[in-house]
Each structure stands twice: as C-alpha cells, then as structure tokens.
Amino acid sequence: MLLTNYQTDSFYDEMFSEEGGIRQSYHILKSRIEGMDDKELLKRKASAEKALLSLGITFNVYGDEEEEERIMPFDIIPRIVTSFEWKKMEEGLKQRIRALNLFIQDIYGDEKIIKDGVIPAEIVYSSSGYLKECKGIKPPKGIWIHITGTDLVRDGDGQMLVLEDNLRCPSGVSYVLENREVMKKTFPELFASLSVRPIYDYPIRLRGMLEHLSDKPNPNIGVLTPGIYNSAYYEHSFLASRMGVPLVEGTDLTVRDDKLYMRTTKGLKQVDVLYRRIDDTFMDPKTFRKDSLLGVPGIFEVFKKGNVALANAPGTGVADDKVIYSYVPDFIKYYLGEEPIIPNVPTYLCSREKDLKYVCENIGNLVVKAANGAGGYGMIIGPVASEKEKEEFVEKVKADPRNYIAQPVLSLSRIPTLIEDKLEGRHVDLRPFILYGEEIYVMPGGLTRVALRRGSLVVNSSQGGGSKDTWVMG
C-alpha cells in the first residue's frame, strides 16, 4: 500500500532503480512492508520511538531551553547495503584511515610530505586543529586516530564519495547500537532472512582497542566527558557503561608527579588510557585554552611523557579541517602508493585565487563551508540562500579565504522514509565508525542520517535530521 505511490522524482534512490524497479537487496523488505497494513507500520514506528524516549536516548540542543532533550527522530525503514558494496566501502575507509594516520604522524614528525611539496606548509600550520605542542610526539603504537566517523554520501550517479572525516570526537555510534536493538524488535522476521551483520560487539572492540594502547596487562581505562550538558552526553555514558569503565569528568581527574589519577572513594587511582570526548583545546587549561573548566590541568604533559594514552590523540583535529580533507587523495597516493578507493567530493579551496574567484561568482550553485565548522553550522547552500545571505557570505569568505571551501551541490541519494502516514523520499548520508587498534575495524553499517524536511540536504541532528538503521547483508 504505502509504496504504491512512491516517487523517486528522478533522484538516485537507495531502494528503487531509475526504471522504478526495486533493487535486489530490498526485495524482502518491500514485500514485508506491502504485506503490512498502513496502521501496522505506524504502530511499529510509535512503539520504536517510545522505547527510545523511555531509555532516555536523547541529545541536547544548545540554546533551546524549552526542549532541552529530544530523541533523535528515528525512521524505521532501514537502509540496506549489499555485502559486495560494503566490501568496497570497508576497504576504502581502511585505506583512508591508514593514510590519514601516516599524515598526522608525519606532520608532527619529519614533515616529509611538506618537504616533498605535496601539501604547502602554511595550509598545515594555519589549520585550527594543528597543535604545535604535538610536534615531536609519538603516541603509543604510533596510532593517532583511534576512532573515526567518516561521512559518506552517494551522489546523483549512485557513486559513493567521502564528504568529510571526523577525527576529533565523532559521535552517533550509540544511536547506531540502540537503533539496532529497536529494529530487532520492530522487524525481527527480516533479520534472519537478510542475515544482517551484527554490530553489538562494537563496545567490546572499542575496549579492546583502548586496552591495546597500554602495555599494562589490565590497564585502567576511562571515558572523559564534558558533562551532562554536552549534546552527546548520552553517548559518553552509554559507551562507558557498555565497556564497563568509569565515565569521568575533568574534576574527577588530577595530575600528580606526571601521572594521571582519578579521585575515588578510596583515594587516587592511576588512569592508563582515556577515551576523551572533549575537544583538544579544552582538554588542558595549562597548555591550551586557559578558560576551559572541562579539562584536566597538566594532562597534556602526562600524555607527552607517555604516562597516559589518549584516544583520539591530541592534534588529530588537523585532519578535520576541510581544506586538509581536500588533500587526502594525495596522502593516499603519497604514503601508500595507491589510488583512492572512495573519491572525495570535488572541492574548491578559497585560499587559491582562481578557486576564490569561481566561488564568489558561482556561490548560487555551491555549498560553501567553514573549514572547521561542524553540525551544519557556518555553511551556506547556494541554491536555497537569499541574495542577501549570499552577498554576506561572499564577504565572509573574502575576509578569510583560508577558512572556506566550496563544493558543488550534490544531489544526495534518497530513500523511502515514513513521513506522517506515508513513505516519501528523503536525502541521506552515512557515517560508518572505524576503530584503529591492533588492526583497523570498520563497523558493518553505521549511522544513516536522514534529512526529514522535504527537499532538505541537511541531515544533522542539531538541524532537525533523523536517523535510520543501516543493514549490511551477509
């Protein structure tokens, strides 16, 4: 019933091919939906949402006092990825993480890539994520980026592209895990027939990865959170709980004699590994932002001396910079001697004179983003912006060209989504989570974020986006 009037509107649709036929991987799901009456699907959606609310799986929205906590809207139509397609994504992501890690190690080390002229020094040094304090540091096992959430999108031709890398404190993995639990209750019958790959072991793998960073047999691990007012607090607590390690705040920690300790009811206890969910510069008021109350004075020095492992390592934010991002395909070639398996979205760098001119003249057709913006802030989507907004943005870009990049407006793929009482196409992206420990592990699936407003391309939860479960088959 629900799918009879579904329109792909000439977008690339995850479920239907251009000819309107159903893609192979969605056959079973489609017949399941069609076998249900409309009310049944709505009922399942309502019960899924109730479960999430009751579990308190919420995020906080800054500056919104009335509704300080919301559940992330959750759509019960899953996105399905074939094992063939997944294999390529997985390989591409591993390749990318390897290259990114080598890059970060290199720029805080010998800077070969700069000396060889692959990336200009000033681009690296001017990145707000570049921390000169990290120069000369080699983190435990040579790993900097332990947890990555890379955003992938599919454009109008159906090709997968990397939209951005999130290496600082990527969030969303708790939704993936909780959504999956809800989906197992919502569509139990589909899991067996599609042999959906499980993801429940993520927290165990996360813990294993963190343990790997210490040479002690039973290292003391903690998750560092800015506290309950942070938008991702739920996730911090969820991960600590699933790993069975304490969730700590800055005030729970103290540095003594170049070691990090947590304050317990039985006195101080040394911390060996910290999964920190606080941005670099808030982590240590002694070294970075003096005004930060979230961090731990002196922790950076402890890290430098090798007495605590931090995940992700400080300084990794340099590769979150969207200008640096545009060089990642070059890193892959330079460090690995390979061709990138998943390409980047074509990117204009406003710091280049020619690109800047093009961007200013064509802003109406481009998405322009701040190099270090996140969460859908500090950006403009040309085709839907007013003349005034565009003019103002051009001024901003001209005033600080290093801080802006531009990309063509992608026609993100769509997927059927339950809107009120019917299925409509909505744009999606995908954030798989990657762990780098003894080896690189890519969680099969990831967070499919969906722009719930009709026509919108913005999928961020802070901008009203929702999420879907992602099923990797067999």
Binding site: V245, D252, T264, T265
Partner: protein
C-alpha cells in the same frame, strides 16, 4: 568508585526519599483536613516548617492555604526541595551515573520524570484525584527502591545509595515528629478525644507506621509513638533503625572491624547509635522532647557533612 559517582548516587537517593516523604506528608495532611472542621489554614503551615523552607514560602505566598502549600511542596519550581525539583535533581544525578546503575532503575526514574514534568499547577478540578497523584508519586519512589535493591550489585554503589536514603529518612522522621509533637501537645484538654486520636494517627500515617505501630503497641499515646519512631530497632523509618543500618554500610565501606573505627563519620554514627541503644523514652521526655529532636537533627546533619568530607571531597 569515583567520588563524584558516590556523591551522585547518595544524592539521587536522598532526593527520591525526600520526594516520597513529601508526597506522604502532603497526602496525610490532605486527608486530615477532610476530617477536621476547623480553619484549615492553621494546619498547613506547620508542614512547611517541617521542611525548613518556611522563609521562602512566606516570601512567595500570602496565606498558607491548602492550595498554596500543596503547590509549594509539590510542583513549585522555585522551591529547591519541591517534589518536582527533587525529581529533576534525582534524575540529573541518575544521568551522571548511568553506567553505574541498571537500565530498569534509570527507566523508572526517567519515566517518573516524564509523567509529571508537564504538570505545572494544580487546578481545583485536580483535587478529587490528588490522593491518587500523591500515591502515584509514593509508588514510583518505592518502585525505584525496589528496582535498586533488586537490579544492582550490593557493592559500594549500593551502600552509598543506602546512606543517602537512610540519612534523609532519619532526618525527615525527626522533623515530622518534632512538628506534630509541637502542635499536638498543647491540645492537652482534648487528650483522648476523637480529634486528638485522629491527629496522632495522622502522625503515624505520615511515617507509614500505622499498622506496624499497632502490632507492637496497644495504646496510641505520644510516648508510645515517640518511642516507636525514635527508638525502634526494626521499623525501617525509626531513627535508631536508620542509624544502625547507616553504621553497617559505613563498616562495609571502610572495612574496619566492629571494635574500631576507620574515620570520623563512622565514629560519629557509632557514638550516636550507642547512646540511642541505651536511651529510654522516659529520659527523653523528661529532658525535653523538642530539645532532643533538635539535637538529633544537628547531629544527623553533622554526620552527613562528615560523610561528604570523608568520601566525596578527595
């Protein structure tokens, strides 16, 4: 365990216990007001005194009417100890320690909050259902204790939870007893009257102690009630019982044997408890009941402050 976590677990339980006590106090007073045919305003202000928030109340409200007191103690967001605020803070504490408590426990507290958070004010039309409202709150709190008891390991977390609950409970029992004693005793001419009986009964009900009292005493007299609520060894809201369980938990936390003590908190509780073990209600009455309860409150506060110093301020 982390000092902050211990502190949050402790407060989560204090707030839940406080919410439960308030709902019981309000409910009993409301029922009592139905039985009394006098100026009912007279009967509500003492309840506010019990909570210690009388100054704030007087600043905000002109008269201690039934509606005002009920609103102040249950929903008023400006009253830091209102049921609503207790619940908000209990839940906030629960959120900060979620990885230390069980999902069922969190769900109880979260669903509790979700069901009452939209309630801003009582209307006249709510009055017929108000007993149900207070009962629902009481039940949610009891569900929380039950859930806590049955779903988390009885390790350090559990003992800090118990400490919060027991110290709050002991404090509230001294207050309710003191308040009732203070207003009830002057009505000497009415001793033995129906009114008198109803009021003393209401005191027992405020501590959910009616049935248990009847099992051990045959006559409802001030002395018997005071003895039961202060010195009983096995009734869970009696002050001596609360202190004895507090002592047990502190022993387990510090690991010291029964003939020595590990820290100042333990010492204070131990001294007070042994005093109570050798106290008689006649002595308490002859030395002055109000003074005794007042002292008890001060010492309970001292114990709480010492606990904070010993375990939470590392």
């Amino acid at each position: 365990m982390l000092s902050r976590v211990a502190e949050s677990v402790y407060w989560m339980n204090r707030y839940m216990e406080r919410a439960e006590n308030y709902s019981r106090f309000l409910d009993v007073n409301f029922q009592l007001s139905l039985d009394l045919n006098e100026d009912s305003n007279r009967q509500w202000m003492p309840l506010v005194y019990t909570t210690g928030d009388n100054e704030l109340f007087s600043r905000k409200y002109n008269i201690p009417s039934k509606e005002n007191v009920i609103h102040f103690m249950s929903l008023d967001i400006e009253n830091p100890n209102s049921i609503m605020n207790c619940l908000i803070r209990a839940r906030e504490n629960a959120r900060t320690v979620r990885e230390n408590i069980s999902t069922p426990m969190w769900e109880v507290i979260n669903e509790f909050y979700l069901t009452i958070k939209s309630k801003r004010k009582f209307e006249e039309s709510d009055m017929p259902g108000i007993a149900e409202f207070f009962k629902a709150i009481r039940n949610q709190c009891l569900l929380f204790y039950g859930c806590q008891e049955a779903t988390i390991s009885h390790d350090e977390v559990w003992h800090f939870a118990l400490l919060g609950r027991l110290l709050e409970r002991a404090d509230k029992t001294t207050r309710i007893l003191d308040m009732k004693y203070f207003i009830l005793l002057p009505s000497r001419e009415e001793v033995g009257s129906t009114l008198d009986l109803i009021q003393w009964l209401s005191l027992l009900k405020s501590a959910s102690a009616h049935e248990m009292f009847n099992r051990f005493y045959t006559r409802i007299t001030p002395k018997n009630i005071a003895e039961f609520l202060i010195l009983d060894k096995i009734f869970p809201r009696a002050i001596r019982f609360c202190l004895s369980k507090t002592f047990d938990s502190l022993k387990i936390l510090s690991g010291t044997d029964k003939d020595s003590y590990g820290d100042e908190t333990e010492k204070r509780v131990g001294v007070l408890l042994s005093e109570m073990n050798y106290a008689s209600i006649d002595e308490i009455f002859s030395s002055g009941m109000h003074e005794y309860l007042d002292q008890l409150q001060v010492r309970l506060n001292g114990i709480a402050a010492q606990l904070d110093e010993t375990y939470f301020r590392n």
